[in-house]
């Protein structure tokens, strides 16, 4: 099942709806990379709340999305990792050290907005 990607202002929101097959994950990766260019997005939220399993493949693919979008000038934040899933990831030895995470969609968007504000230095007053 394809993951729907919504455009919200300068951001993309990819909401994973159900258990993902590897094929779905690869397609998500391709779709996000393509849409970042098409919509000139500054940030991406990948919502994994509905994911019951985050194994090494899914984890590697999400990191791939984060790294590739970074190279295209957009920041990815993974939101909604469930408590059991976090527990299993730690046991498995997976970490998202180099990937931004947030508790939920709201926090993720707030994080990206903060990042976006930091980028637009025009409105800043004072400084050197």
């Amino acid at each position: 099942m394809a993951v729907p990607i919504l455009k919200q202002g300068p951001f993309l929101i990819a909401s994973i709806q159900a258990a993902l097959t590897d094929t779905d994950v690869i397609r998500l990766q391709d779709d996000v990379i393509e849409q970042v260019g098409r919509f000139r997005s500054r940030g991406i939220v990948v919502d994994v709340t509905a994911l019951d399993v985050m194994d090494s493949f899914v984890s590697r693919s999400l990191r791939g999305i984060a790294h590739m979008t970074r190279l295209r000038g957009a920041l990815t934040v993974i939101v909604g990792i469930q408590p059991e899933v976090a527990f299993a990831m730690v046991q498995l030895g997976l970490n998202f050290e180099d990937v931004h995470t947030a508790l939920d969609l709201e926090e993720g968007l707030a994080f990206l907005q903060g990042f976006g504000a930091g980028m637009g230095a025009e409105g800043e007053s004072g400084g050197g």
């Binding site: 097959t21 590897d22 019951d52 399993v53 493949f57 046991q91 030895g93 997976l94």
Partner: protein, 138 residues
């Protein structure tokens, strides 16, 4: 072993099916939700090894009973290339494919018992066992 369930593993849809069937079986034995996730994640790793390295194989699920305890027994079998260096395959971070090298050593950490039986040219069998919590009434 009356209710052994065999799931043929041919593609990534079957990997998802295997872990969801295992989750249902474990739930019926009273596994807490964290353990359901650990088991499903371990199965995801070993079933993906089948599609990645052997192409096809199967995952068998059954209930194991020992000394008044019940657990889920998972046997993943394939007739793929086998593993030449078992010690290396169980080492964290080692990968011969395109993964993170966490598949086998990671799966081992997620379950209570783990056994790897493999021979180059003959295939690989990975056996996992995860116990349900002890029934407080016994």
């Amino acid at each position: 072993m009356a209710d052994e369930r065999i799931i043929p593993i041919r593609n990534d849809d079957d990997v998802v099916l295997a872990r969801s069937e295992a989750r249902d079986l474990a739930k019926s034995l009273g596994f807490p939700s964290t353990d359901l996730t650990l088991l499903a994640t371990a199965i995801s790793e070993i079933a993906r090894n089948i599609t990645t390295y052997a192409g096809t194989g199967e995952v068998s699920l059954s209930v194991e009973r020992r000394a008044g305890r019940a657990g889920v027994l998972v046997v993943a079998r394939d007739r793929g290339p086998g593993i030449a260096d078992v010690e290396l395959a169980l080492r964290d971070g080692y990968t011969s494919g395109h993964g993170l090298g966490l598949g086998l050593p990671g799966a081992r950490r997620l379950v209570d018992e783990f056994e790897l039986d493999t021979e180059p040219g003959r295939g690989t069998t990975v056996t996992l066992l995860k116990w349900a919590p002890k029934d407080p009434s016994t």
